[in-house]
Symmetry: C2
Subunit: 307 residues, 2 copies
């Protein structure tokens, strides 16, 4: 079983309006509700692939209840720790031209709640083959929260994939996750003493392997066994939100199965592209995945090459 961790999940609302008029009043013609947060997207993609998965993290209030309901509706197994504060919402207002996003701040998590979550996470590891640790940490969670989870998992012999950014990533790296998956922007933002880090320096920081997602240009993997680039055979247009989460789903499955790196990278490229082909994050178009999978080009890369 793959356990996905979403410390700061959300209820994602998408409103359809004719046209966004600043300082006007809009009747919303359609409302779509989705469970939101990177780890939940990873869980939903794995579930769609038929892989045994369990989603965990922290959920609070009636918004948290709604996220739980939506996961249950989608038949995604979940075991979240209840917290007192209200889970955040995101509102995306889609008009004919594009979308306008509003992101609520995450709920304040108490020290006691975080400790209870770490304890629950440790219990869930009994059935876990891989853990995927995904997204931002909510306010109140310790900034080295992911480092703790990586260490707890390692103690039980469970490999971890870490997909986060900023300080949460920097602190998480020190605990030696088996794999980190920054995108190019997250990598660029991760400076040490003012100077940019390249992908290879994340290995120096502690990660056992690094996969950098590069949008339509595919993936770069730096590992103890070598370095590879994976590039899709065609350029898909669609919704890139959620492509990184589909990538993490493929990587977690590959870690579980000890898939050789070139094959794993090809799988992750195809599954990312299959997410772009669907309108919502957390979903993949399986026909696109099957069509693109054999055509992904994977080649060896020089390990020190800049991404």
């Amino acid at each position: 079983m793959i356990v996905t961790v979403t410390p700061n999940p959300a209820l994602d609302l998408t409103y359809t309006v004719d046209a966004l008029v600043p300082h006007g009043t809009h009747r919303v013609s359609a409302v779509a509700e989705e469970p939101g947060g990177k780890g939940l997207n990873v869980a939903r993609v794995l579930h769609a692939l038929g892989e045994p998965v369990l989603a965990t993290g922290l959920l609070g209030g009636s918004t948290g209840d709604r996220v739980s309901e939506l996961l249950a509706d989608a038949a995604v197994p979940a075991a979240f720790l209840p917290i007192a504060a209200e889970t955040r919402r995101t509102v995306s207002v889609a008009d004919d031209a594009d979308a306008t996003g509003f992101w609520e701040p995450g709920p304040m998590v108490t020290g006691r709640e975080w400790a209870a979550f770490v304890a629950q996470f440790e219990e869930l590891l009994g059935d876990a083959e891989v853990v995927a640790l995904c997204g931002s940490l909510p306010p109140g969670a310790p900034i080295d929260g992911y480092a703790t989870l990586v260490r707890v998992a390692a103690k039980r012999g469970v490999p971890s994939v870490l997909d986060t950014s900023g300080e949460a990533l920097r602190h998480g790296l020190a605990a030696g996750p088996d794999l980190v998956k920054p995108n190019v922007d997250e990598l660029a933002a991760l400076r040490t003493r003012g100077s940019e880090l390249d992908a290879a320096s994340l290995l120096d920081c502690g990660a056992k392997a690094v996969v950098v997602s590069r949008g339509p240009e595919g993936l770069l993997a730096l590992t103890g066994d070598g370095a590879w680039r994976g590039v899709p055979s065609e350029r898909l247009t669609g919704n890139p939100t959620g492509a990184g989460d589909a990538c993490v789903a493929a990587l977690a499955r590959g870690l579980r199965d000890h898939t050789p790196w070139p094959e794993l990278l090809a799988d992750a490229v195809a599954l990312s592209a299959a997410a772009v082909a669907t309108p919502t994050a957390g979903a993949v178009d399986l026909a696109t995945y099957r069509r693109l999978r054999p055509a992904v080009r994977v080649s060896a890369a020089r390990e020190g090459s800049p991404c």
Copy 2:
């Protein structure tokens, strides 16, 4: 006890952002949650005045649960019928300049749910001295829903105040509510066979009394006993949302107490102004109310005078 009915309540969310940028992504710096819907505002104002009140209507899903929680936090007594569909949200995005509103459609109410609500309403009438029927009807509710509630209340000898618009108001009038309170826009929108209705014609349509709210120009009352205008002694600036609901709260209390019309109208003018003096609907500034109440000017009006 005054019973307020809100068939289509809402969870009102107010997001604070720096500046609304169409097709941008905004981190919301503050989220305010309020129970929303005209009848809930009326109930909150009555509760703030220390009047015994019970809020009823239909609430569904986790959004409905959140509205119930917020009412409980405010210590407003409530007895809502649970429905299967999800209660609507409204999102108001406030930036430095003004607010941008997004209104979700209301939940679809089934025939069985509406019938169960009418039965519950009839039971609540045992303790009711006045009922206030407020706001829109949700999708699925019969368009003559308010007419049914007015008739059920009248059968039990309980007077009703009806504050709605459009077809819901037109159908409600036929049942002979004791008082209707359109604002000038709602009155203008209520045409019969293409010709405009004036306030007096609402009496012809069945209402026993009409109070038209005219914004800063105060109130016009047409009743079986005569016609009056009530005008505030000063012009307040602030948030006019919720002024009409404060007006309904005063009118419902006055009906209960058999307050003479000139005095009742003065009270409704002062309480409406006290709502303008607060930033959120459903609240009144009691100091403003007490200050303005003695200074409201009420004068007799010709009954047939256009508003």
